[in-house]
């Protein structure tokens, strides 16, 4: 028991691994084949420690084309500066796109510093991460166009309550960044989208879904971790890197997710 506690508190939370995920889709595969697409999420940074340095080392070794970051960079109402420092060290050949999570809005005033210089409306010079707040970017590749959408559930438009881009007419498939995996249910089943989400931490410890449900963690009960498919829509939920509530991870190793897109069906 003592060994398990030591492992869960001090060893596994710092043992960041690479999780390879294959996505077979004619459109995404055609556009993104041979590109290194990476997702990280739920960093909950208190200080630039061992786990954060290891994550950056992995990212640098992967030399990614695109990095997607799906929210929760800080501790609840904590210091935002270490998270900004981490974001300043994210680099990718094509770009880094991100959305914010509920923890990032624990101080809405400080949350502005993700996009702006402190005390002004000027764009931040601290990092090159592009935050999407209920907005869409379109990136052109030699083999087609990629829509990258960012769903902002917390600080979004009060008139649309964060659902503004759900009803948008998608003529081409989209990668949707959403901190909460529950937003998957807002997307129609016939839409060819890939949602990248986090928030669950994979539960941090292995518990059955029904128990998460009883404890009030609907997101974990429904979408704890991994790939989900319904109709044409798909979602990958990463168990993330940091911890919240308890500084513990047991058989839920922190992960950097690398996506491999292929236009061909699974063999």
């Amino acid at each position: 028991m003592l060994a398990l506690t030591i492992y869960g508190l001090w060893i596994e939370p710092n043992d960041v691994e690479i999780h390879q995920v294959s996505i077979h889709d004619s459109y995404f595969g055609g556009v993104l084949q041979n590109k290194v697409i990476v997702q990280i999420t739920d960093l909950h940074i208190h200080t630039m420690g061992k786990r954060e340095k290891k994550t950056l080392d992995i990212l640098n070794s992967l030399n990614p084309d695109i990095v997607f970051v799906t929210g929760d960079y800080v501790k609840w109402d904590g210091d935002y500066r270490p998270a900004l420092k981490f974001l300043s060290q994210l680099h990718a050949r094509i770009g880094v796109w991100a959305v914010m999570g509920d923890y990032d809005y624990s101080s809405t005033r400080k949350s502005c510093t993700f996009c702006h210089e402190e005390g002004s409306g000027a764009p931040t010079r601290k990092h090159a991460v592009r935050f999407l707040k209920d907005s869409v970017d379109v990136v052109r590749f030699p083999n087609g166009v990629l829509r990258i959408e960012g769903m902002d559930g917390e600080g979004g438009n009060i008139f649309l309550s964060g659902k503004g881009i759900v009803s948008s007419d998608r003529k081409i498939p989209s990668i949707i960044l959403s901190h909460s995996p529950l937003n998957f249910d807002l997307i129609q089943d016939d839409q060819n989208i890939l949602m990248l989400a986090g928030d669950t931490h994979g539960g941090q410890v292995p518990l059955p879904g029904w128990l998460f449900g009883i404890l009030g963690y609907k997101k974990n009960a429904l979408y704890n971790q991994g790939l989900f498919e319904k109709g044409r829509k798909r979602m990958f939920v990463s168990r993330g890197i940091g911890t919240s509530h308890l500084p513990l991870r047991l058989f839920r190793t922190p992960e950097v997710v690398v996506f491999h897109f292929s236009p061909y069906d699974k063999l």
Partner: protein, 182 residues
């Protein structure tokens, strides 16, 4: 001499109690006298908030709003007082430094999950140049479409905003309060 002293004491106490009673006739929700009060706002895109020494109508400072062109820039204060049943009127002051009138909207929700436009209170006020006192009788808080009186026991959200400004608009807000009768 002793009697005079006692009378003076009683008189002072009465005056103090009366002044307290006067205070209880209103509750100041937000006065924006220090930078700390800026944390009692939900910060969002396209708005800059700061505490200003200009155009205060209560205390010595006001809240300066710099609203940039966007859909609905404005302010959503974090409401500590959500039960408004004991009050008669919701009031605040707004200073418009521009020569042009500004149309200011006030939205009040009594439901947490972002009620539709027909199920919330929303009203427009025309701000002339200079100081404007906005006063909203709570009995007039009726939803737009469903004609329902807001549940004053459960006021969830206050949103003061400008609708699609085409250029940067600056306003100074101060002395947001609830008033009782009398």
């Amino acid at each position: 001499m002793r009697t005079i002293k006692n009378l003076l004491f009683i008189l002072t106490s009465l005056l103090f109690l009366l002044s307290c009673q006067q205070d209880f006739k209103e509750i100041v929700l937000f006065d924006y006298e220090s930078d700390k009060e800026l944390d009692q706002l939900y910060w969002s895109c396209h708005v800059l908030y700061s505490v200003s020494n200009d155009h205060a109508t209560h205390g010595s400072k006001s809240l300066k709003l710099e609203l940039f062109p966007s859909d609905y820039p404005g302010m959503i204060p974090v409401l500590a007082v959500k039960d408004w049943r004991d009050y008669r009127e919701f009031c605040f002051d707004v200073y418009n430094p521009s020569e042009q009138v500004v149309q200011l909207w006030v939205r009040i929700d009594d439901r947490k999950n972002y009620p539709d436009s027909n199920d919330r209170y929303e009203n427009k006020f025309v701000l002339k140049e200079g100081n404007n006192h906005i006063s909203i009788p709570l009995e007039s808080l009726i939803t737009l479409g469903s004609n329902r009186h807001l549940d004053l026991a459960k006021i969830h959200r206050l949103f003061i905003y400008v609708h699609h400004p085409i250029k940067k608009t600056t306003l100074y807000v101060d002395y947001i309060l609830l008033k009782k009768d009398g």
